[in-house]
C-alpha cells in the first residue's frame, strides 16, 4: 500500500544498540531506508517527528479486554483503540472473560474480532486459562490452545491456588515452552482484604491484604519450578519481599521472570486515604518502601517487564462504597507517560532500558517474533515524545472505561503513534 516517511526522529533499538537521529522510510509495511535527509517519494505520507523517539513496537503483556462477556466495561474494539493511543502495537489479553479463554473457539473469536479493529493495526495475543473455567481444578487443553496461538497460560484475576495443579501446569507446559503467569496471592491470607495491610489499613478501618500473601505464593511457585521445571512469570509484582525472592531465583539461574505495573512503581498506599475507589486494585498499592524496591528491581534487571494490568470497570461499578468496588484500573493510555516521568526522568532507567521492558523482554517471555528497526524488516514501531508535558484527562481516553487514579496528573512523555501490519496511527 502506502509509503511513509518519518522525518527527524531519534531512532532507538536496544537490541542492536542503535540510538541515532535519522529519517525512516517505510513501504508496504517494511522498512526501506534509515538515514538522514531521505526525500519524500511522490505518494508518501510524511510526518515530522522532531523531538520524538521511534522504537520497536511496544507490547503490553497484561491487559483485560473484557470481551466476551463484560462488554459494558470494555470491548476488543474500544481497548485496541486505547492500546494504539497508548503507543502499543500489541497486547496480551487475560482469560478472565465470560466464557473464560479456556478453549480454542474463544481464542479464534478474539483473534477474528481484533483483526476488524483499525485494519488489524494492533496485534492481540490471547493468554489462555491454566484451568478450565479458571476454577483451579483441571488444566485446560493446553497443547491444543498452544497450537491455536495462545502465548501463555494464566488464571489471572485469581491465583492457581492448588500446589498440585500448579505443578501439573508447569510440567505440562514444558512440552510447548509456554510460560505460566501467576497472579501471586495466597488467598487464605487475603480473604476480604481491599488494601495493603499495615498502619494505613488500620487507621482507615479497611480489611488488609498482607504483603506476605504475594511472597508466599511466589516462594511456593519458585520451589515448584525448581522441582519440576517449566517457565514461571509473576504478574503485577508489588512487594519488596516478593521481588527479593525473584532476584534470588534469577541468581540461581531459574527460568523465572516478572512484571510490574506503572501504578505499583508510582503510587503507595496513602492514596487510599481518599477512599477513592480508583485506588483499589489487586495487588493493592503498597508502601513507599515497596515502591522504591520496584524501581530498584527495574534498574537492576530483576523486573523484566512493565505491563499495565489494564482493567476497565464502568463508572457505575466503581462509584460505590470502597468495600464493594471492583479491583483494578485502566493503564494503557498512561503507561508511557508514567514510565518516563517516574523512571526515565529521575534517571532510574535510560530510554533504551525502558524500551527493553516494553518490547524486547515481553517478546522474549511470550516467544513473539523479535522486531528490529532495520532495512528489510517489518515496520513495527512505537513513537513517543519523551519530553512532551501533558495532563492526564480521562475525557481524552479511548478506553471505554475511565477508572484511573491519575486523572489530572501532570506527566512528561507522551505516545505519538504506532506503525504495525502495514498501517499507521498517529495522534
Amino acid at each position: 500500500m502506502k509509503s511513509i516517511l518519518l522525518k527527524d526522529a531519534r531512532i532507538i533499538d536496544p537490541s542492536q544498540g542503535l540510538d541515532t537521529k535519522a529519517d525512516l522510510q517505510i513501504e508496504n509495511g517494511f522498512i526501506t531506508g534509515i538515514s538522514a535527509g531521505l526525500q519524500a517519494q511522490k505518494n508518501s505520507e510524511q510526518y515530522d517527528l522532531q523531538g520524538s523517539v521511534v522504537a520497536p513496537g511496544f507490547i503490553d503483556m497484561h491487559v483485560h479486554l473484557r470481551e466476551p462477556g463484560y462488554e459494558h466495561k470494555a470491548t476488543i474494539a474500544t481497548e485496541l483503540h486505547a492500546a494504539a493511543a497508548g503507543g502499543f502495537v500489541g497486547v496480551a489479553c487475560m482469560p478472565n472473560t465470560n466464557p473464560a479463554i479456556d478453549d480454542t473457539s474463544i481464542v479464534r473469536y478474539i483473534k477474528e474480532r481484533s483483526l476488524k479493529v483499525l485494519d488489524g493495526l494492533v496485534d492481540v495475543y490471547p493468554i489462555a486459562a491454566v484451568t478450565k473455567n479458571r476454577e483451579g481444578k483441571q488444566i485446560t487443553e493446553m497443547a491444543e490452545l498452544s497450537g491455536a496461538g495462545v502465548v501463555a497460560f494464566s488464571d489471572d484475576g485469581s491465583p492457581v491456588e492448588n500446589a498440585q495443579i500448579m505443578r501439573i501446569a508447569l510440567e505440562y507446559s514444558k512440552m510447548f515452552n509456554k510460560p505460566i503467569i501467576q497472579h501471586a496471592e495466597e488467598k487464605t491470607l487475603t480473604h476480604g482484604g481491599v488494601m495493603n495491610e499495615g498502619f494505613i489499613s488500620t487507621i482507615l478501618g479497611l480489611p488488609g491484604i498482607p504483603s506476605i500473601a504475594e511472597a508466599l505464593m511466589i516462594q511456593r511457585d519458585i520451589m515448584l519450578t525448581v522441582y519440576c521445571g517449566g517457565r514461571y512469570h509473576v504478574a503485577h509484582l508489588s512487594t519488596k519481599i516478593g521481588l527479593d525472592l525473584i532476584r534470588e531465583a534469577k541468581r540461581n539461574g531459574l527460568p523465572v521472570t516478572c512484571e510490574v505495573t506503572p501504578h505499583h512503581f508510582t503510587l503507595q498506599e496513602e492514596e487510599v486515604k481518599s477512599f477513592d475507589t480508583n485506588t483499589k486494585m489487586h495487588p493493592p498499592l503498597r508502601t513507599q518502601e515497596d515502591v522504591d524496591a520496584m524501581k530498584e528491581g527495574l534498574k537492576d534487571g530483576t523486573i523484566d517487564v512493565i505491563a499495565t494490568d489494564h482493567a476497565p470497570h464502568s463508572y457505575d461499578e466503581k462509584e460505590v462504597e470502597y468495600l464493594y468496588a471492583p479491583f483494578g484500573i485502566v493503564g494503557l493510555e498512561t503507561a508511557i507517560g508514567l514510565s518516563i516521568s517516574e523512571l526515565v526522568k529521575p534517571g532510574i532507567l535510560t530510554l533504551p532500558q525502558m524500551i527493553e521492558k516494553f518490547t524486547v523482554n515481553p517478546r522474549r517471555i511470550l516467544d513473539l517474533p523479535h522486531v528490529m528497526i532495520k532495512e528489510g524488516e517489518k515496520a513495527c514501531l512505537t513513537i513517543f515524545n519523551p519530553d512532551e508535558e501533558w495532563t492526564v484527562d480521562i475525557n481524552q481516553f479511548k478506553s471505554k472505561s475511565k477508572n484511573t487514579p491519575f486523572h489530572g496528573h501532570k506527566l512528561s512523555g507522551k505516545p505519538v503513534g504506532i506503525v504495525n501490519n502495514n498501517a499507521i496511527f498517529i495522534k
Partner: protein, 306 residues
Amino acid sequence: MSLTSRHLLGLQGVPRDDIIKILDSAVSFKEVLDRPIKKVPTLQGKTIVNLFFESSTRTRISFELAQRRLSADIVNFAASTSSLSKGETFKDTARNIEAMKIDMVVVRHQSAGAPHFLSRIVEANVINAGDGRHEHPTQALLDIFTLREKFGMLEGKHVCIVGDILHSRVALSNIYGLLAMGARVSVCGPATMIPRGIEKLGIEVYYNIDDVLPQVDALNVLRIQLERQEGGLFPSLREYHQYFGITRERLEKADRPVTILHPGPINRDVELSADVADSEHSVILQQVLNGVAIRMAVLYLLSQVK
C-alpha cells in the same frame, strides 16, 4: 463558636477546640434533658435523614431522640441492602433522599469511607454513625463526655480500651478523641484482634489485662462479636472471659477505683461480669443519657457551620 468542618466524618484530625465545643454544648443540652419539657426549638424546620445500612437500634434511637428533642423533622431510612445485592446503589439512594431537600444525613454503613463518599455526593451535613471498622465519632464523644463528667478533666488520665480492637469503630474514634484531650490511651485484647501498627498512633498495646489494670483510671470495654469466634480469631467465649473478661476479682487488684464504660449492648459474663456491669464504678447508663446530649450538641453545632 462554630466547628471547623460542616461534616462529622470521624475524630481523626478534629481539633481539640472543636471537641471541647461539642462537650461544652452537650452540657447545656443535658440540662434540657432534665427539664419537665425536654424539647427546644433549635432545629425547627430542619429535616434530618437517618440512613442506616446496618441495623443498630441503640445508635438510631439515640440520634432520633436527639433530633426530636431539637424539634427537627425526621425521616428514617433503613436498608440492609448494599450495592452487592441487586437493589438501588448507595449513590442513587443518597441522591434520591437529597432530592427531597434535606438538611442533614446521619449514616451508618458496613463500609469504611461510606460517609466520606456520601459527603462528596450530597449537599447536606453528613454525620458518621459508624462506618465499618473505621470510626464512630459520636460514640467516642459521649465516652469522653462521660469521662470528663467523672474526672473533671482528661489530661493524664489513663483509659484502656479492651477487646476486639481490630473490628471496632469505637476504638479508633476514642483513641483520636482521647489523645486530643491529653489522656493516656492503651488498648488490650487478644493479639489476633490488635490491628497492625496501631501503636504508631501514640498508644500502648497490652495483651494481658492484669498488666494494665493497676495503671488505669478507666476501662472502655468493647462488645465481643460472636461471629469473630466463628472466624477463628479466638478459640472460645470461655477462654476470652477467662483472659480478658472484666470481673470484680480482677478490678479489686487495682489500688484505685476503675471507671467502667461499655458502648453496649453488653454480653454479660463474656467481656464484663454482671456484678461489674451493675457496680458503682460502671457509668454505662450515664453513657446512654449522655449519648443523647452529645448528639444534640453535634447536630446543633453542625447546623451552625456555614
